[in-house]
């Protein structure tokens, strides 16, 4: 019931956190020269990102022929990677928007980095359609605008809806994230050691003064953004799934696709958050802030979403059989027993079998175990997309048009390179941004008491009135309750 009565391992924030040291500890990495581990990690990420740049340059001269895409399988690893990275982004928006509306206080330590991950993942995802169109320099034709070409985009195509969905998602996520950063930029400004940094941070903080008026506007806007961002969690991956589900291809045209894609995205997104936070809390000594409780709760979400996608796989197989359509049935037989059986079974093991280890509390609170599981989950989710997109295309209705898809070295290069690109951005983020939402974090800490120790009950009665977490509730906001 009360925070103080819970045993230490169940606490959201360690009791070792001192209110007065929060700002200092969170802002510390911004003020000092990066450590050696950071330099090594950054160097590795940059080197890997080069693997993304090389094929793109090569392609500019030699065209799409350097990749493995062919006539039946026109989409290849581009779209596998695109959907994979868009999916990764979902956990960030879920944590920042939906958990905010649900008053889940455990989001406060992880929302900043999860949202940053969303933005970087969507940026990474956006690269792939741009490469895939081949003539990247005319990629702006995707945008509908009246031009002398008199050629409009096809508004009936889900591919265009995707352009709108992903750009909206990126814009809203970026604004929402940035808005949360404003008070923290101001904190950094006020503590800046020299004029140079002070002027940068004061521009970034939009002249935030921290007055009651500022906070009032801030809170309202934050909630409105949360409301705007909530449907995006569902809509983006639903529309990505429409790219496939509106078609006639067996294995693609199935009505469960939209929710199934959304849940899969949340599944992989949470796994990526766990991967990143396990490293980040170690590198920056944030173990008191990002506690075992946070990681455990995220692992529970991974377990739950794993079960839901298991349900979706099962219903796809059942209905493929039930429908009596030979093409559907063939498709669902060729997944486990066809040319691409290894990707299929990798997916099943990584997505359905491995996360079941989290039923054990011991396992889901064990750092090495959750790190390995989170990596395997993302391997599984990458192969899930591979299964859906490649297997369905390579064997369609006419056996005369069947063909195998074998990625070339360049396909593999940009796939690995995309991770380098993503981690480069994330490492820069951990260096130059406040990685935790300081203001929100403080609102979930018990109020500091300098006087004599207040008895527990009285302390909590008082706590009700000024606890920041209650502010989203009608009881505590007379304007909204009436």
């Amino acid at each position: 019931m009360s925070i103080a009565l819970e045993p230490e391992e169940n606490k959201l924030l360690s009791s070792k956190i001192k209110m007065e040291r929060v700002t200092e500890e969170v802002l510390a990495p911004m003020g000092r020269f990066p450590s050696l581990p950071w330099h090594i990690a950054f160097g590795l990420a940059q080197a890997t990102a080069l693997l993304l740049v090389l094929p793109v340059i090569y392609q500019l001269f030699f065209g799409l022929g350097i990749y493995g895409i062919n006539n039946p399988v026109g989409w290849g690893l581009f779209i596998v990677n695109f959907v994979f990275w868009v999916g990764i982004g979902h956990a960030g928006t879920l944590i920042s928007a939906i958990l905010c509306l649900f008053r889940q206080n455990w989001r406060t330590s992880i929302n900043r980095s999860a949202e940053a991950m969303t933005i970087f993942a969507v940026m990474t995802a956006g690269i792939f359609p741009l490469i895939h169109v081949g003539r990247t320099w005319v990629a702006y034709w995707l945008v509908p605008y009246p031009a002398e070409r008199a050629l409009w985009v096809n508004f009936r195509s889900p591919l265009l809806w995707d352009v709108f969905a992903v750009t909206t998602y990126f814009t809203i996520s970026l604004l929402f994230w940035y808005q949360g950063l404003i008070p923290d930029w101001a904190t950094a400004r006020d503590r800046a050691k020299n004029r140079f940094f002070r002027s940068i941070y004061s521009v970034l903080s939009f002249g935030w003064t921290g007055s009651a008026r500022d906070w009032n506007h801030y809170e309202r806007a934050y909630r409105q953004f949360a409301f705007l961002a909530t449907p995006l969690v569902l809509s983006v991956h639903s529309i990505v799934s429409f790219d496939f589900a509106v078609s006639l291809i067996p294995g693609w045209h199935t009505t469960i696709f939209p929710p199934y894609f959304v849940v899969g995205a949340i599944f992989s997104g949470f796994a990526m958050v766990v991967t990143l936070l396990v490293i980040m809390r170690k590198l920056y000594n944030l173990e008191h802030y990002i506690t075992m409780k946070h990681l455990e709760l995220m692992n529970k979400v991974i377990l739950a979403t794993s079960l839901i996608i298991g349900y979706a796989y099962a219903s796809e197989f059942f209905i493929a059989w039930y429908s009596g359509h030979e093409y559907e049935q063939f498709q669902f037989l060729s997944r486990p027993f066809g040319h691409y059986a290894i990707p299929f079974w990798t997916m099943v093991i990584c997505n359905l079998v491995v996360p079941q280890i989290f039923w054990s509390k011991k396992m889901r609170t064990c750092i090495p175990v959750m790190f390995v599981v989170s990596l395997l989950v993302n391997v599984g989710m990458w192969f899930e997309r591979f299964n859906i997109f490649i297997i369905s295309l390579h064997n369609d209705f006419l056996p005369s048009s069947w063909g195998l898809y074998i990625p070339t070295i360049w396909d593999i290069s940009y796939t690995i390179g995309s991770f380098g690109f993503f981690f480069t951005l994330f490492l820069v983020f951990t260096r130059v941004f406040p990685t935790l939402a300081i203001a929100e974090l403080k609102s979930t800490l018990p109020a500091p008491s300098t006087g004599p120790k207040i008895p527990e009950a009285a302390h909590h009665a008082h706590h009700d009135d000024d606890d920041g977490s209650a502010r989203h509730h009608p009881d505590s906001n007379p304007k909204e309750a009436h």
Partner: protein, 405 residues
């Protein structure tokens, strides 16, 4: 506005409903079911067909309510939630219908196989199927169907029974009870996911055996959950008045948000299913929606999203409306009526290409099942205190401590 903290909650006692009400419910049930049985087993083929169809709609409607309430409870247990504790007698009472009559009424529909599954139960499947001699013809055959339905329904009844038993158990402290309930809720959800989906596909979707949709199980689930939430909200106003203000504005607000969220979920699921079929335009799938669009059915099909999403969503959008009695009652009625229209549209157009106005037999059957449902709910509410006074989380729920934990 702050409501006062309480440190002790008096036992409000069980529901003291007049005996006449419970007896009235039972009388209604007996009359309704007698009318149904007479018209289902005597008279012309057409009138028997009509009686069975109406019966199936009514039974599914109330069985879905019970299952929806059970799912709501199990969600709370799986997530160790506390806010709902003050309301929990309502879902318990509603869910108890699944073994106090509801499940048996669904099992009774086995006797009507030849009227409910006209396309595969009596005639040679080859004349209807494009897929004769497939395993599907065996899967959808009367003998197998009876076994399947018995397995699904009994599994659901047993799982709900153990869930509710764990829910009403108050022996132990907070942690033990949480574990006990978790141990009932997780198997419940596992059983529910499979048994309910398979029931939806095999016993509801198969009234049109050619049609198939992977979403159909989820569609039925979201309808069940939404309608159960609406019914809970309707009764919670009465509970609020009856229990001396322990059901706070905050609970009504949260329940309103819940209804709004799941109305949107329902809309999302329904739209995804419709849009993908409409866009792909494969005749094997579109015929199902065409049957529900032509012949006078179309008005109801179009009304469905209005009743189940537009009205609840926009009426509850301003926060004050979420605790407003009039708004909530409109929303609940809209959703509960919408759910009836929904199930009517799932079943009826399979037998009637032209719109049919519910007959007197249909209405009496519906009232009969409603009587049994009312009796089961009332008797469950009368059996134990209206507020779960032994529950260690009750004070937390009333005072809203969970907001700060």
């Amino acid at each position: 506005m702050h409501e006062p903290r309480v440190s002790h909650i008096d036992d409000p006692g069980p529901l003291k409903a007049p005996a006449a009400l419970q007896i009235g419910c039972l009388v209604l049930a007996v009359i309704g079911l007698l009318v149904f049985l007479v018209s289902a087993f005597t008279g012309t083929e057409e009138s028997r067909q009509s009686a069975w169809a109406g019966y199936y709609v009514s039974v599914l409607y109330f069985f879905f309510l019970a299952m929806g309430a059970a799912v709501f409870l199990s969600f709370q247990y799986v997530t160790s939630a506390k806010w709902y504790v003050v309301l929990k007698r309502l879902p318990e009472a509603i869910a108890s219908f699944s073994w106090k009559g509801g499940g048996f009424l669904v099992l009774l529909s086995i006797l009507g196989i030849s009227y409910l599954y006209t396309q595969w139960s009596t005639v040679n499947p080859a004349s209807y199927y494009p897929y004769e001699n497939t395993a599907k013809a065996v899967w959808l055959s009367p003998g197998i169907h009876v076994i399947k339905v018995i397995i699904y329904i009994v599994a659901l009844m047993v799982a709900t029974f153990f869930l509710i038993r764990a829910s009403q158990d108050t022996n132990g402290d907070s942690a033990t009870l949480r574990l006990k309930r978790m141990k009932a809720a997780i198997p419940f959800l596992a059983v529910f996911a499979f048994a309910f989906s398979l029931f939806a596909w095999d016993a509801i979707m198969s009234v049109e055996p050619k049609w198939f949709s992977t979403m159909f199980g989820v569609y039925c689930f979201s309808g069940a959950l939404l309608s159960a939430l609406a019914l809970m909200m309707l009764i919670s106003f009465w509970l609020q008045a009856r229990t001396g203000g322990h059901v706070r504005k905050r609970h009504m607000y949260d329940l309103g948000t819940y209804v709004m969220a799941f109305a949107t979920f329902m809309m999302y699921i329904g739209f995804s299913q419709f849009m993908l079929i409409w866009y792909a335009n494969i005749p094997d799938e579109t015929f199902w929606y065409m049957k529900r669009y032509e012949g006078g059915w179309g008005l109801w099909l179009v009304l469905l999203p209005v009743l189940k999403w537009v009205i609840p969503f926009f009426l509850l959008m301003p926060p004050p409306m979420r605790t407003n009695l009039v708004a909530q009652v409109i929303v609940c009625i809209s959703i509960l009526f919408g759910q009836l229209v929904d199930i009517y549209l799932l079943i009826m157009p399979a037998y009637y290409p032209e719109f049919v106005v519910p007959s007197l037999v249909h209405i009496l059957t519906f009232l009969g099942v409603m009587g049994l449902f009312g009796w089961s709910t009332l008797s469950s509410l009368a059996a134990r205190p209206l507020l779960p006074v032994g529950d260690p989380d009750l004070l937390s729920s009333v005072n809203g401590d969970y907001l700060h934990a």
